[in-house]
């Protein structure tokens, strides 16, 4: 009863104030909290390794209830543990971090375009982005994360999510929700976004990157047989399209869901059972994960409602130093009396040359309208990613369009990305 009360109270009081922002899944706050390296959780930030996913699936806690003993930073008590016995005649006790749970991220770029643009043939885009990140946990069952992001001179985005963590198998989240928070987009190593998250509906009012805005999500994870691999699931509802005040722009809500199953490798919620190996590294997790996702929503546009939906699947294969990710998605969009079907996919390979140096290549295919005769957009993106320090990443990538329409839209990006 007390737990239920707390959940309802949390749901009723936590604000959901959100703007479209690129979600970030790298939180130096946790490096400080546990006095551990970024590579404990990251393959190369923001891409998570197997333990990083298990940490996230435990509600940003160490697995198997060991978070308190692993935490190196002493929290400040806002009420002794014994006050739980007094509730509801006292405020439920909790604690807050001993130091503010804040971190910073900065990204700068040098761009060289294949063709002259309004900005010229090349540009120093520095800074591209500055972000204030925050994340943490309250007592045993509440966790939160978010960011305030400044991109270019005029764009400010913010993003916040708080969740009640019943157990690793069930978290109830309130805040910025959507498919973008659980797909490769959040974990990409390149400056260029994935094609599947950039594909817009007919009216141009929604893409996966937009997320579902403010909403509620039930999600969870569990280990598979023998403590290896396992499942994850998520189902959510959100405003979808929103106005400048963060209110829903239409009467209907957006719905989405995602499921994955992992075979082999570290359990989705961690633990060490059955995990012995003669070789190891933070970037190795020999396993195969398959997943599916769907999203359905409505957006208001100039010529009426745009009813759209996406359905897709993805795989994530890890073998020693190699990681292959692929995803395919179909989108349907009905707008102004026209129904459009789109199909898009990408596949990428990451190979660890050294623990700090990753060779990368991606192929992308996007057919915006499968019923017309216009060629699909195809692109290859070779890149090299160097972790010059655990918290400083440099990458060099070259987008090469292969279709005739995309000619001269490619270019090179050198990016420096660091978190403090």
């Amino acid at each position: 009863m007390k737990k239920l009360f707390l959940v309802l109270f949390t749901a009723a009081t936590m604000g959901v104030l959100l703007w479209e922002v690129q979600s970030v899944q790298a939180f130096p706050v946790f490096a400080r909290k546990y006095k551990t390296s970024c590579s404990t959780c990251h393959y190369a930030f923001p891409k998570l390794n197997a333990f990083g996913k298990a940490f996230k699936n435990n509600g940003f806690r160490y697995p198997a209830g060991t978070d308190e003993e692993m935490r190196k930073e002493e929290p400040v008590s806002l009420g002794s543990e014994a006050y739980k016995k007094v509730f509801p005649d006292a405020i439920w006790p909790t604690d807050i971090p001993g130091t503010p749970p804040l971190a910073f991220r900065a990204i700068g770029r040098f761009l060289k375009f294949d063709k002259n643009t309004e900005d010229g043939k090349s540009s120093f885009e520095m800074p591209h982005e500055l972000a204030l990140l925050f994340a943490g946990t309250f007592d045993d069952h509440i966790s939160y994360h978010g960011e305030i992001e400044f991109e270019h001179a005029a764009e400010i985005g913010y993003d916040f999510k708080v969740q009640y963590d019943f157990s690793p198998a069930a978290h109830l989240a309130f805040g910025t929700v959507g498919l973008n928070h659980m797909m490769a987009e959040d974990l990409r190593l390149t400056a260029n976004h994935y094609n599947i998250v950039n594909l817009r509906n007919q009216s141009g009012t929604w893409r996966i990157r937009s997320g579902a805005a403010g909403g509620i999500e039930l999600w969870g994870a569990g280990n598979g047989p023998g403590g290896r691999g396992g499942f994850t699931y998520a189902a959510g509802v959100g405003n979808g399209q929103r106005d400048g005040e963060n209110y829903d722009k239409n009467k209907s809500k957006d719905f989405y869901g995602r499921v994955t199953y992992k075979i082999g490798g570290l359990g989705e919620i961690g633990g060490t059972e059955g995990q012995g190996s003669s070789t190891s590294a933070f970037y190795i997790d020999n396993s195969f994960r398959i997943g599916g996702f769907a999203y359905s929503g409505t957006a208001v546009a100039y010529a009426g409602d745009d009813d759209f939906s996406v359905i897709g699947g993805d795989i994530d294969w890890w073998f020693n130093r190699l990681n292959v990710v692929a995803a395919a998605m179909q989108m349907k969009s009905t707008y102004a009396g026209f129904e459009r079907k789109s199909f898009t996919y990408f596949s990428e390979a990451n190979y660890v040359l050294y623990p700090w140096l990753i060779a990368y290549a991606r192929y992308e295919f996007t057919d915006k309208n499968t019923d017309d005769n216009i060629d699909a957009q195809t692109t290859i993106l070779p890149a090299i990613v160097a972790m010059v320090r655990a918290n400083v990443k440099c990458s060099l990538e070259y987008k090469i369009p292969l279709d005739s329409a995309g000619k001269n839209t490619g270019g090179l990006i050198f990016q420096v990305d660091f978190g403090l």
């Binding site: 404990t40 692993m70 060490t272 190891s280």
Partner: protein, 196 residues
């Protein structure tokens, strides 16, 4: 020759057990460090004597993402069991062990893997899953060693009377060895100051 070695060892043991041994006690000061702990103070060698490691294995724990102890002196020939006490995978490898580089893989909580340190010297111990973890195993030829506490205090007990070279090792600082004459009883004071 074996009987000569045996005779020397026997004489040595009689010598020590008969009370002809003293303690070396002192204080180390580690310059530009948070504290003066984790300094290994040891007698490099005792002429004509080869010491056997203690029976059984020694244990280095991996607990709360730290190696415990951080600095671990052992007698040459000692087998160290590396225990994982965490609910996360740990690894143990050494890039500079005098016996040769080794990597013991990863293992689950409650399980140990072993390595025997047969050559004297320093082995850096690392975990390739958690780069912040490090420890040092200092393999020495004699059982006469100590590790300083944070205040820099140390004591080496039951050292046979005689003249020795007393050395120190620290992961970041150095000091020159000191010649020391240990009396048959009582304490011999030797202090060190370690610098870059």
């Amino acid at each position: 020759m074996k009987w000569i070695n045996g005779l020397i060892t026997l004489s040595f043991l009689i010598f020590v057990s008969s009370g002809m041994a003293g303690d070396i006690k002192g204080k180390v000061k580690v310059r530009a460090a948070r504290n003066s702990g984790n300094v290994v103070i040891y007698i490099d060698k005792v002429e004509g004597k080869v010491f056997e490691p203690a029976k059984g294995h020694s244990v280095m724990d991996q607990k709360n993402l730290e190696f415990v102890p951080h600095v671990f002196p052992v007698v040459v020939g000692t087998t160290v069991d590396f225990l994982n006490s965490d609910e996360v995978l740990h690894n143990v490898f050494s890039p500079d062990c005098p016996d040769g580089k080794f990597n013991l893989g990863t293992w689950a909580k409650g399980i140990m893997k072993s390595f025997t340190f047969n050559k004297p010297g320093i082995s850096t111990i690392l975990c390739n899953v958690h780069p912040e973890m490090e420890a040092y195993i200092v393999a020495v030829k004699t059982p006469y060693f100590a590790v300083s506490d944070k205040a820099g205090n140390y004591i080496i007990k039951n050292v046979p009377a005689g003249n020795y070279t007393l050395k120190v090792w620290h992961e970041k600082r150095k000091a020159k060895p000191r010649e020391v004459a240990v009396a048959a009883t009582g304490e011999t004071a030797v202090d060190f100051e370690l610098k870059r």
